[in-house]
């Protein structure tokens, strides 16, 4: 009898863990959507620093660009080769009824700039990677 009750308690605990996990995944989806929305305009890469503090909305997700660090550029190995760089943007999901606590995540913006006769072309965004939600490393990748 006691072992049955303990089994029931374990099932209830597992159910609450599943629902907490679902809320966390929804927050991750919201933050990734926010980052994609922020970068939907290809001309905005150069102008991101000026947008720190701005808010945006994509679907039901309201967000704010908290900070932007970089970009930092690698030294090119050979003359004429494109230069790779990276900037890190931190976004915050604004508090809502479903997500009462504001959550933040950092995203790496992978940049590339081509060498042109006049010097270097404006940076082009080539990839976006999630660095982690509240310090938790994200498992983003191919299945």
């Amino acid at each position: 009898m006691l072992s049955s009750l303990s089994l029931q308690a374990a099932a209830l605990q597992s159910r609450s863990q599943v629902s907490a996990g679902q809320r966390l995944r929804q927050a991750e989806d919201g933050l990734m959507s926010a980052a994609q929305h922020l970068l939907a305009d290809p001309l905005s890469v150069d102008q991101l620093a000026a947008r720190v503090g701005e808010t945006g909305q994509v679907g039901p997700v309201a967000y704010r660009l908290v900070s932007l660090t970089g970009p930092s550029w690698q030294d090119t190995a050979e003359a004429g080769a494109p230069q790779r760089g990276r900037a890190v943007a931190t976004l915050e999901l604004l508090a809502s009824a479903e997500q009462p606590r504001p959550l933040q995540a950092a995203f790496a913006l992978e940049l590339l700039r081509q060498a042109i006769p006049e010097g270097l072309a404006p940076p082009q965004l080539v990839a976006l990677r999630e660095l982690g939600l509240r310090g938790r490393s994200a498992a983003v990748g191919a299945p």
Binding site: A11, S14, V18, S33, P42, A127
Partner: protein, 142 residues
């Protein structure tokens, strides 16, 4: 121990065993449901991250100069990707050069993400450096 005591003890034993068995059965069935639910949630995650991984695989190969055109191309491309049994997926090009990917399973609900072709260098003011990628080429790289 007389007959009455033996009978009462037996009745108590039968009732207790019956209750215990019912609780075990209910626990086992809810554990099986929870396991199935976890499995479907995992499949949803794989489907959603798989769509995003396609963008990463296509990165820096512009498919169109205009990002709205790239979003429309991407919506068709992602919709054509394989999907696990029991899941359904709706991919649509949205205003603002975004693509919305929504995957759902009947028992566990849905997840959705907005994706941007511009965030992966699939569009922009620069002319494409390569020919647009065909379905056959992209399927082969999955």
């Amino acid at each position: 121990m007389n007959l009455v005591e033996t009978l009462v003890a037996s009745v108590i034993l039968v009732i207790s065993s019956s209750c215990s068995l019912q609780l075990w059965a209910s626990s086992s069935s809810s554990a099986a449901v929870a396991e199935q639910r976890q499995h479907l949630l995992g499949q949803l995650e794989i489907a959603l991250l798989g769509s995003q991984a396609r963008l990463t695989a296509l990165a820096a190969e512009p498919v169109a100069t205009d990002c709205a055109d790239a979003a429309r191309w991407l919506a068709v491309h992602l919709q054509s990707q394989p999907l696990a049994a029991g899941l359904s997926r709706v991919v649509s090009a949205e205003p603002g050069a975004l693509v919305r990917v929504q995957v759902s399973a009947a028992e566990v609900g849905q997840r959705q993400r907005w994706l941007s072709p511009a965030a992966y260098g699939l569009c922009g003011p620069k002319q494409p450096t390569t020919a647009p990628i065909t379905e056959e080429q992209t399927d082969a790289t999955l």
